[in-house]
């Protein structure tokens, strides 16, 4: 490639190869991850908020108003926030990709030295990694993929994933949040509704925690208890604080 540099242009075929990259696909694992993110906070915070307000002697009407407003706000904050965050990551990836692409074209010896450095970290000697470095130099597309993954640790994000992720997280938060609020929609006295809310929410947290453990490869029973514990601690804190502020 050094003669191409001195002539000042890159073989268009090589350039178009550089522009082709395999995309990371949206997997079931990512949908599960989004649901976990949404339901974890969705089941916990609205429940705790509602319990706290009940302890402060609010009516079910106020509790529902606060709860639903919080669920809406939380779903938007997590969903829209997650979407913009994913878009930023995608923009970041594109910027890093262009930069590596330029470096491969303009300073291939530096890039080759970086490959050598990566392999040398694993005790591989120059005479051992030289054939790999040369192999990569002959395939600019693969070389670019290698640098993105092994030097920068970045994978090409799927542009549709950002939007899909946002919806998954937001909907999960909403579904999670509605569970503890349901009793307040049927029981006008908040101090009565809170008991039903606590009962169904603890059960929901245990089930969700178990499923979370199962899907993430962690002990499901332990996960169930930890998840329920977070709900218990959060609601106890909310209850205590609300009682102090509004006895």
């Amino acid at each position: 490639m050094s003669d191409e540099i001195s002539r000042g242009f890159v073989d268009p075929e090589k350039q178009s190869l550089l522009n082709h990259h395999t995309e990371k696909h949206f997997t079931a694992g990512e949908i599960v991850r989004d649901i976990i993110i949404g339901v974890s906070d969705g089941l916990t915070v609205p429940f705790a908020l509602a319990a706290g307000l009940s302890g402060a002697n609010a009516s079910s009407s106020i509790v529902i108003t606060a709860g639903v407003a919080e669920v809406a706000a939380g779903a938007i904050s997590m969903g829209l926030g997650g979407y913009l965050s994913a878009k930023s990551e995608a923009d970041h990836y594109e910027r890093e990709l262009k930069r590596e692409q330029e470096e491969i074209i303009s300073v291939p010896d530096t890039e080759a030295a970086e490959v050598a450095e990566i392999l040398a970290e694993y005790g591989v000697e120059p005479h051992e990694y030289a054939p790999v470095v040369n192999a990569l130099r002959k395939r600019p597309e693969a070389w670019l993929d290698f640098m993105m993954k092994f030097e920068l640790g970045l994978e090409k994000p799927d542009p549709k994933r950002a939007l899909q992720s946002a919806f998954n997280i937001a909907f999960s938060y909403i579904l999670g949040g509605l569970v503890p609020l349901l009793p307040y929609m049927f029981i006008p006295r908040a101090q009565d509704a809170v008991v039903a809310s606590a009962a169904i929410t603890i059960v929901a947290l245990l089930i969700f925690g178990y499923a979370k453990g199962y899907f993430t490869g962690n002990k499901p029973v332990k996960s169930a208890f930890e998840t329920a514990l977070i709900g218990a601690v959060a609601s106890a804190a909310a209850f205590g604080i609300a009682k102090v502020i509004h006895p």
Copy 2:
């Protein structure tokens, strides 16, 4: 190593080398990330909740009760949830590490084939990657590091980081949440307090969004406006929903 396997034991020096791994250190980048996570939701949700309740004609007293209860619950959910999540990741890493360790000792040819597969993805031919594979086979510790990173994409988490991360996120959420609630503590009529709350929160969101963009390498002005936009949309939704439920 094949003779060691047939003799049924591993050289203790090799085994102890297998037990040594460089830890991923807690960096300023991670503290920034935790602060961003906490403040993003902390500035947005309590503000929106308070604005929604103000629109539903609640008193500042109820707004503060709900707001502070939500901040407590949110901080615990995010903090404790983040901590347990990081602990699960650490446990997952340890399990995967042990499994790779066993595979390297018991089925080194399979593991060597996996290294070959990884390099072959980049168009590297067998005669080109063979010296690298052999180099790794001679260094079990480096080989293990290589498999953890390049096959599984995992890095050894710092055990202290889980706790530190949890505190950072929780504190950030609390600090973020108190900003929009402050006016309600001084202005008894919520419908008046909400104006002050909106003003200081929008400014806080713009500043935070700008800083976020700066630290994450994205356009700061764009980031400032996006962050403020999320706050505006979340509070509009909360306000609208609260007015519908509790006119």
